[in-house]
């Protein structure tokens, strides 16, 4: 029996020839990542357990991105604790205000994830690095603390769903439309405990930023990870970022998949998820005109350079509709700077958008734009759960940057074609 791409990476990190779905294994880790919410909890667990040093100070990353710049006294205490732990452990990869970006945009950008590696992160969207052909998945704070000590973690070898991509997306259809469509097809637990492995000729038609967005939301289908094959685009992306040896794995021809889902990218339309589950999908055509109060463009899902460029293309020489508030959050300092250099910041500000410093802020109702009861936002973030971005009686519609920007201009849910 052949192995999936994920199974091959796991086998290599266990040090065995092969692994089978359902088997429990302990695997070596290449990176353990955490943020300002999860690191302090792990630090307490680590220290109370009597552990002294992390297994490898080059393989532990702490990224203070959720409540930062600190929104209140309690969150400042969390960041302080994480900062002190990073200093005491002399961590190589510690990112604080000024250099920090949203973790899942920052880790690939800084070359901290490479093809064939295993990365765990105390954040559910750690599955993002599957876009690079790595096995990466989210864990909790106890898992992380134990891994800091041992450099290992336990995994149940996942079975897999194969997503066959064919065709080529039309101009305004991006990775967000692909993943929302997929979640709409298989449901929020459609890939529970499983890998989602993307394959087919359509992969080549997706940019790296598209792939990051898609892998990022694998968790929203319950997936353990969402992984792409490594191709020229992947190698081009990691060039100049990753300078250590890495391994490229391919799924075996006879790998077993529990299910195959086919998506023809040429047929995909702009897609949104209505409240209160990511699986509650509709095409934009079906819900055009739906009332919104605000727009968020950013997050670990859609705060990357291409997302900013797409939004800018729509906002150029246009204005945000009266009564709509737009909050744009570039995901990293490099992206922020690039936006300035390309004149994108000027476009955003002249259109009437607020632009914030890189932070997870609004996505989890933390800060930087929280909703009260009765408000509705269209957001490029990843979860539209009850209360996720504010009051329990506020509502979230998930969308791509193109749809979010077009809706901002229209003043209601709309696609780019509707306003251009």
């Amino acid at each position: 029996m052949g192995m999936t791409m994920t199974q091959k990476i796991l086998a290599a990190h266990v040090g065995v020839e092969s692994v089978k779905a359902g088997e429990l294994v302990e695997a070596r880790l290449d990176l353990c990542m955490s943020n300002d919410i999860t690191s302090p909890v792990s630090a307490d667990i680590f220290e109370q357990a009597g552990f002294d040093k992390v297994f490898d100070k080059d393989k532990v990353a702490i990224i203070l991105d959720h409540y930062t710049p600190c929104k209140d006294i309690d969150s400042a205490r969390l960041s302080k604790k994480a900062r002190e732990f990073a200093k005491k452990q002399d961590l190589t990869h510690f990112y604080d205000t000024g250099v920090v970006g949203i973790e899942h945009a920052l880790v690939p950008e800084k070359g901290l994830a490479a093809p064939g590696e295993i990365i765990i992160g105390a954040d559910s969207h750690t599955c993002t690095y599957g876009a690079l052909g790595a096995f990466s998945t989210g864990v909790g704070s106890t898992d992380l603390a134990a891994s800091w000590a041992s450099g290992q973690s336990w995994f149940k070898v996942p079975s897999a769903i194969k997503v066959m991509l064919t065709g080529k997306p039309s101009k305004w259809v991006t990775g967000k439309d692909v993943i929302l469509h997929l979640i709409g097809e298989i449901g929020v637990d459609g890939a529970l405990y499983k890998s989602i492995e993307f394959a087919g000729p359509g992969v080549a038609e997706l940019s790296m930023d598209d792939r990051f967005t898609i892998s990022n939301m694998a968790i929203e289908a319950g997936g353990k990870n969402g992984i792409f094959p490594v191709d020229e685009k992947t190698l081009e992306y990691i060039k100049g970022r990753v300078d250590r040896p890495y391994n490229v794995y391919e799924a075996d021809e006879d790998a077993e998949y529990e299910r195959v889902v086919e998506i023809n990218l040429s047929e995909l339309k702009n897609t949104v998820s209505l409240p209160h589950l990511p699986s509650n999908t509709r095409t934009v055509d079906e819900v055009k005109g739906t009332h919104i109060d605000s727009v968020v463009i950013g997050s670990c899902t859609n705060g990357r350079m291409e997302d900013m460029r797409i939004a800018a293309e729509i906002f150029k020489d246009r204005k945000v509709a009266k009564g709509i508030r737009v909050n744009i959050v570039p995901a990293t300092q490099d992206i922020y700077l690039q936006c300035i250099e390309e004149g994108i910041m000027k476009i955003f500000i002249e259109a009437g958008c607020a632009v914030n410093t890189p932070s997870c802020g609004p996505c989890m109702g933390g800060h930087m734009g929280v909703m009260c009861e009765g408000e509705r936002t269209i957001s490029t973030t990843n979860r539209n759960f009850v209360g996720r971005m504010g009051h329990v009686e506020s509502e979230i519609i998930l969308a791509s940057p193109a749809v979010a920007a077009a809706s901002a201009v229209a003043g209601y849910v709309a696609g780019p074609e509707d306003i251009m």
Partner: protein, 160 residues
């Protein structure tokens, strides 16, 4: 063996409603217990839940990786969660902190809110004392059983 009153919830109970992100800036057990489930049932955290049993549907604990979610349920005094299925990170987190969870679709379906239920962790037998019906939960693999017996992942690692 535990016995308690059931608080029942539906499918896809996510970690954002179990413990909203706006409270994660203070991860103390008191704060976690004070706000547990309040976005899905504002009355829930106002009651003493010592010994109570939580029942959920499919995909319980989906969403964020925050360990604060099982921690907050445990901090309320709830003795265990029975669900049709669990999201994988919640499942790991519960085991890692030594908090008992049982996967049993039949029990999750049949047990009603307010019923009295007993759970035998040794055998995995769940009994609805109100209706007299019994259910068999899936057994944990030996490795996971060993983590639970050690009192969580950290103790397990320290022994290894």
């Amino acid at each position: 063996m535990v016995k308690g009153k059931v608080y029942k919830f539906g499918d896809d109970v996510n970690t954002d409603v179990i413990i909203p992100a706006r409270y994660l800036n203070d991860p103390s057990l008191e704060n976690m217990a004070r706000h547990c489930m309040e976005d899905i049932d504002p009355e829930f955290p106002k009651v003493d839940h010592t010994g109570d049993i939580m029942v959920g549907g499919w995909n319980f604990g989906c969403g964020s990786s925050r360990e604060h979610a099982p921690v907050s349920i445990k901090a309320c005094g709830v003795s265990c969660v029975i669900a049709a299925s669990f999201a994988r990170i919640f499942y790991r987190n519960a085991i890692n902190i030594g908090f008992p969870i049982l996967e049993c679709p039949e029990a999750a379906e049949a047990i009603a809110n307010g019923d009295t239920v007993s759970v035998d962790f040794e055998t995995g037998v769940i009994k609805d004392e109100t209706t007299g019906e019994s259910f068999q939960a899936a057994a944990f693999p030996p490795f996971i059983q060993a983590i639970i017996e050690a009192g969580g992942l950290i103790n397990y690692r320290k022994k290894a």
